[in-house]
Assembly symmetry: C2
Homo-oligomer: 344 residues x 2
């Protein structure tokens, strides 16, 4: 069973995969795994993955056979285990619990070679709806506090398989970076009685200098103080704390904006590896023992997607401090991306 | 002038290097810089660096000429500028200030090929004393709140030159990760009236399972919930909030422990790139307008050095959440390092 352990100096929870007894020799070279010769995510190879959780397929077609256009499966090498109790425990002065969670893979398309910016609009919408549906479904499990949806594209972004896919991890604690955002959003709300991200949207709209794509329902901009060059945030104009609240109309807009931004990044920066991550609110369903814990979250938090092209290595300075040096002014990054002409 | 900007969602300050107008084409490939053919840090090439700030050299020898055994110079491409006022300003709803700071390079040895674990004990002590002396000197500048000392060794750890060196950055804000540690150390102190890290030392000493090197004055262990495989922390047994308080006797012990740990890592893991970072207290000298800001810091904080071998890539999950998956149990990592036989 993997363990969740809390670092007392940062209060960060870390997943310790205790059961794979890795030896130092497993680490001798920082070698990206070679692409598998047979792709387990391709149609016809469904038997190489765990049985599907859900799939988009013609009505009447058999599960775990080809014919699907999107497929959600459990990760074959999960970071957390779905079965068991949380088992919160002290260990001397330290805190731990069992590594309980869900780890799913969303296979975004049957086409091994299709790159996300080139997805038909309907395919991209299908992917974004699957995120919403999986988060909603996992919310029913009272052990999970947070559902994290992310995509690693390219070896340098951590992808170990080429076939286009994203991942979902459900965890029993609210991750540190999310807690921080929740804290600062609430702090701002208490001071202003307005949502911080709603205010950022209107500030960015007013200044225009960091906008990348502005659409009726969604907006994409380079944030004012980004950690990484060409980092882009995408968010709904409508105030909404939870990604699950996104309407089908907004999904259409989000699909368009995400495809456009990633197409611009691909074209401007030479097809870099990238990550995107959905920042949404933790599970807010009433839970025994936690009647009031979320306070004004429905008013003060606003979901968004962070897109991070993997262009620079993070060196000692960044690790040591959480203090980042970004060599590209956000206004320049936004201008380059804005002016990059791409097909809609 | 570079800018310091604060991200409103995380309250993290980021250095934006606005003046180098980098274009997207500068980023097209993630290519480590090739090693310079002429090393500017080697003896005889002193004219290729800015004039030295200080150096260890035979008495009577001329500055900026060869003959030195350690040399401290300003970084030729500094992330921050030493001249100017902080100029704290609002920009719409955002916060910024001028990118004021110091960025120095400590050239640790005249020998281009010498690897830190192989330094003579006296050379390693000289390096550690130079850190103490430079921090002490920069404390006199009332604009600086924090002095960050770190070493990037190897291209994968962010080093752009092979010649052994470390860096010091003085910044006008307390970096986020340090603030967090200060917060949790103070929180623990308020609850227990004891130093968190003193308690961790006695816990680790008691359990022994995560110890790497235990010495009279210094202790090295794999922390209970490390973010990275084979991460090691080194700290003084004596309670001390500020690295500048380290005695010459303790420097001797620190030099021995640091060399030993890095030798074990090199041998066990095949000479990986690594970073180490000194976590010390912010400047606590009384400053106008901040009479009481440091509270009990002399009682509740405890300096330490983090050593991070660069073995695994950080993927989307980690970026998105500040939530790390560590595939090596700390107890196994410590055991491997403990059992690695190295010459003293």
């Amino acid at each position: 069973m993997p363990e969740l352990r809390r670092d007392p100096l940062s209060h960060r929870w870390v997943i310790i995969a205790t059961e794979r007894a890795m030896r130092p020799s497993d680490f001798k070279v920082e070698n990206p795994k070679p692409a598998a010769s047979i792709c387990p995510f391709c149609p016809g190879n469904e038997h190489l993955t765990p049985p599907e959780i859900t799939a988009v397929r013609p009505s009447g077609s058999a599960a775990n056979k080809s014919g699907w256009s999107l497929r959600v499966i459990p990760n074959k090498f999960p970071a957390l285990r779905i079965e068991g109790e949380l088992g919160r425990k002290g260990y001397g002065m330290y805190d731990k619990m069992n590594g309980i969670g869900a780890h799913e893979v969303i296979i975004e398309t049957a086409d091994h070679r299709l790159d996300l910016p080139d997805y038909p609009q309907s395919q991209m919408e299908m992917v974004l709806r699957s995120y919403r549906d999986r988060i909603s479904d996992l919310k029913k499990d009272p052990r999970f506090k947070y559902m994290l949806v992310f995509k690693n594209s390219g070896i340098h972004a951590g992808a170990s398989l080429d076939h286009p896919h994203s991942q979902l991890i459900a965890v029993p604690v609210t991750p540190k970076r999310v807690s921080e955002e929740l804290f600062y959003c609430r702090d701002y709300y208490e001071y202003k009685e307005r949502c911080l991200l709603c205010d950022i949207i209107s500030q960015e709209q007013l200044l225009e200098e960091r906008l990348v794509v502005a659409e009726e329902n969604m907006i994409a901009y380079v944030p004012y103080a980004p950690r990484f060059p060409f980092e882009v945030h995408v968010l709904p104009r409508r105030h909404m704390h939870d990604y699950c609240g996104v309407s089908d109309r907004e999904i259409g807009s989000l699909a368009y904006v995400l495809k456009t931004v990633l197409k611009k990044i691909r074209q401007a920066l030479g097809d870099p590896a990238y990550n995107y991550i959905i920042h949404t609110s933790p599970v807010t369903l009433p839970r025994p023992g936690h009647p009031e814990m979320w306070g004004t979250i429905e008013l003060d938090y606003h979901w968004h997607i962070e897109i991070i092209p993997r262009l620079t290595r993070v060196a000692g300075f960044e690790w040591g401090t959480g203090f980042y040096i970004n060599p590209v002014a956000p206004e320049n990054a936004a201008k380059f991306l804005r002016e990059e002409n791409v097909d809609a």
